[in-house]
């Protein structure tokens, strides 16, 4: 019985994953995970040189910029810790997780790393000025 449920879970979980071809060697990955506004996490799989690479094309940082978000030293430090702990690289606001040929057996782990990073980075929205001002005032009143 437990085995049946596990098989069902694996089957349904994996069937939620879809690939949409965007251009040559570039695919959008539909994971079913969303940003807090309901937009799906922006994840692309593309071939760079000879390796496959997951990238968000800068969408996560753009998403954060929707609100009154300023990358101060404290916020930058949190962002860098998130990237480091998930083995994600950032270049000019674009997130990357590269999978070299020898890492192909870790493609799933690389994708999970990108998913986790995007979700954790969007949590930085809770440090936007309005939220910090409100929580600061509440703490002060206690």
């Amino acid at each position: 019985m437990t085995g049946d449920v596990l098989d069902l879970l694996k089957q349904q979980y994996c069937s939620d994953l879809e690939l949409e071809e965007r251009s040559l060697n570039k695919y959008m990955i539909h994971t079913g995970y969303t940003y807090p506004d309901g937009d799906e996490l922006h994840i692309l799989l593309e071939k760079q040189d000879d390796a496959w690479c997951f990238t968000d094309d800068g969408h996560t940082m753009m998403w954060l910029s929707y609100s009154d978000f300023e990358l101060t030293d404290t916020r930058r430090s949190l962002l860098e810790k998130t990237l480091r702990s998930n083995n994600v690289r950032i270049d000019d606001g674009v997130l990357y997780v590269s999978c070299s040929n020898r890492d192909y057996d870790r493609l799933g782990a690389c994708l999970r790393s990108m998913i986790q990073t995007e979700i954790q980075l969007t949590d930085l929205q809770y440090l936007e000025k309005d939220v910090v001002r409100d929580t600061f005032n509440e703490d002060l009143r206690q």
């Binding site: 959008m28 539909h30 079913g32 969303t34 807090p36 506004d37 309901g38 937009d39 799906e40 996490l41 922006h42 094309d57 800068g58 969408h59 753009m62 929707y66 609100s67 009154d68 929205q125 309005d130």
Partner: protein
């Protein structure tokens, strides 16, 4: 094409509210009430319910075929918000983003 055209209202206390967000084709959007996904360009709108119940005021979104490019999205946003140009009054010209 991944872009966002955003209309923001700033109240007298300086708090900003996203009234509308015109997103390009950056992927899908999940409609929390219907449980359905929408694809392609979509327009987010602020709602009182989203302000009360969700993390983002502009969580509500509807699919659109009114634009495909950034330039067209700016035109649609201006049309929806009734933004018109008044020359020589120091108004910002949104068309500078189209050049």
């Amino acid at each position: 094409m991944d872009f966002s055209v955003i209309v923001i209202y700033k109240d007298i206390n300086g708090r900003k509210y996203i009234i509308r967000r015109y997103n390009g084709d950056h992927g899908r959007h999940y409609h929390k009430d219907t449980g359905l996904w929408i694809s392609g360009p979509h327009i987010h709108s602020i709602t009182e319910r989203a302000q009360r119940e969700y993390h983002k005021d502009e969580t509500e979104a509807a699919e659109t075929d009114r634009y495909k490019t950034l330039e067209q999205a700016i035109e649609v946003a201006m049309e929806d918000m009734n933004v018109v140009f008044e020359r020589n009054k120091g108004n910002a010209d949104l068309r500078k983003w189209m050049e």
